[in-house]
């Protein structure tokens, strides 16, 4: 795919994808809104600027791989893949419906461009490790990107995987932490605190790059930096806002798994596309 370097253009794409997410979830009548809006800038930076990929080369050896370990961010992945051309945008209206190619969580057998079936939290980084080891065996230059949620790091398996990535010096692996601070039951810090999360990853042997996960320029720079790190895996610690871009959804745990109503959708669209 053509790589876009202009941050304003990328930010505009991300906001258009936000509208696609909200329309899709409104049509479905359910779905994970907040965590999709917090992750969409990250996905935009990866798929429209940094990753080597294109529709039709879903199994191509040269492609960079993306594992959505926080599987509930599926809506963000679907609108991104549709815009890239992996499938027609009209498919988005079928989310979660019988016969659709789009499940509530990513399901690789049915959706072009989805690498791994995820949704049970904590499992993606282990798979990403295996892919990274496999690519090293093949002396491939491809990079694995693995997007996790901050609540997800409460899962023990994440740390088994984190230990392994560093042990094998998997510098072809870039994990990204979508640190939106919320989980279903409320603020992560109140439910089960994960801090100091950056220190934890550093202590596990990772290079940690801390950024504002909605600053497109910072995202592009962090991805370049992470890919360039040699001898250890990198974590992009992206501070994000759950529900980002829609004022009344921001930092609200209640929008974790709730779709917008018709009225909310109209209000959100006005905020995202003021013209």
């Amino acid at each position: 795919m053509k790589r876009i370097e202009d941050c304003e253009e990328l930010a505009k794409i991300a906001d258009e994808l936000r509208i696609d997410i909200l329309e899709m979830l409104h049509t479905a009548g359910s779905g994970h809104t907040g965590g999709s809006l917090s992750a969409i800038d990250i996905l935009t930076a990866l798929y429209f600027s940094k990753m080597n990929h294109k529709p039709g080369m879903e199994n191509g050896a040269e492609r960079d791989r993306f594992v959505l370990s926080k599987g509930h961010g599926a809506p963000a992945l679907y609108v991104t893949l549709a815009r890239c051309g992996y499938f027609d945008k009209s498919e988005l209206a079928s989310l979660r419906k019988l016969g659709s190619m789009l499940s509530g969580h990513p399901y690789s057998p049915s959706t072009p461009g989805v690498e791994v079936t995820t949704g049970s939290l904590g499992q993606g980084l282990s798979i990403a490790n295996g892919m990274a080891l496999g690519l090293k065996l093949d002396q491939s230059k491809s990079v694995i990107f693995c997007l996790m949620g901050d609540g997800e790091t409460q899962e023990g398996q994440v740390w088994e995987a984190a230990m392994t990535s560093a042990h094998y010096k998997l510098d072809n692996l870039v994990a990204i932490l979508d640190n939106n601070g919320l989980q279903i039951d409320g603020f992560v810090k109140d439910v089960m605190g994960i801090e100091p999360i950056g220190d934890k990853w550093r202590a596990f042997g990772w290079e940690v790059i801390e950024i504002d996960g909605h600053d497109m320029s910072a995202l592009l720079g962090a991805i370049d930096k992470a890919v360039a790190v040699k001898g250890k895996p990198s974590l992009i610690w992206a501070h994000t806002v759950k529900g980002k871009g829609v004022s009344f959804m921001e930092n609200k745990a209640s929008y974790h798994g709730a779709a917008p109503t018709a009225k909310e959708l109209e209000m959100a669209k006005k905020e995202l596309n003021p013209a």
Binding site: S126, G134, E160
Partner: protein, 311 residues
Amino acid sequence: MRKTCLNSVYDLARRDDRVIFIGSDLGVSTLDEFKNNIPERFFMEGISEQHIIGMAAGLAMEGNIPYVNTISVFLTRRCFEQIVLDLCLHNLNVRLIGNGGGLVYAPLGPTHLAVEDIAILRTIPNMTILAPADAKEIARLMELTIEHDGPVYIRLAKGGDHIVTPDDQEYKIGKSIRVREGKDILIITTGVTLQISLDAARSLASKGVEAGILHIHTIKPLDTKAIIERLAEVPALITVEEGTVIGGLGSSVAEIVAEADFGQPKKFKRIGVPDTFSDNFGSQKELMEGFGITAANVAQTALELIDVKSG
């Protein structure tokens, strides 16, 4: 059996560079040659079974065939979700080699007994389950795993078990083995219960009862056709397994019997581990005796089923 199995993995790895070995803190000197000669495809992981299943899945997604080996119960019970989602749902070519299937680790206590492995794994689509009886059979089956499509669980017995599997039959994943002919009753076995059942059949023969034995090295996919064909010839059957009778071999056969139309009902007993935790330790043999997984009990059960006075 374990040594033969691991040697087979090394043989396969020398022939096919897709083969990878992943262990979990095993301390196996058997594999030193593998480790020294093909270090890039030899991984000895820490104690992190759930992660290892995911990692094996990722390696398989990149075209490799990982053979994962550790203690059976930690591989299956702890990792059930990873096996379902990472391996079976993606239908990946990962092979799980479980040490100490059944009651092998009896002296270590109930934390180490793998008695429900077959029952739980049997519920997963795309899964193949192998439970060989002896070292010769594992060698034959390991050869077949390399080209097999989808995940495979290989349940290893204690080792040093008598070689009893016949040489003159075709070994195919999913195909049962006719070990003994007999019209009075059919004994269906898996793993090392073949040895027990052969002893039972000899004892029965001395009393004039001819027991047939059908050995099931592949519990899934089950050789339903052969089971029905053999059962059509006999009035009664016994299943013998070193595992829970809930959901294992006995249940699998019961499902077939219940849905088949034999005209006359079959007399049927399942022998295996009952629905209880074992609070005995001791040896594998002692626990098997406690649960009646013995030649004497198989023979006695057969006599009762076909209503012959045992004298």
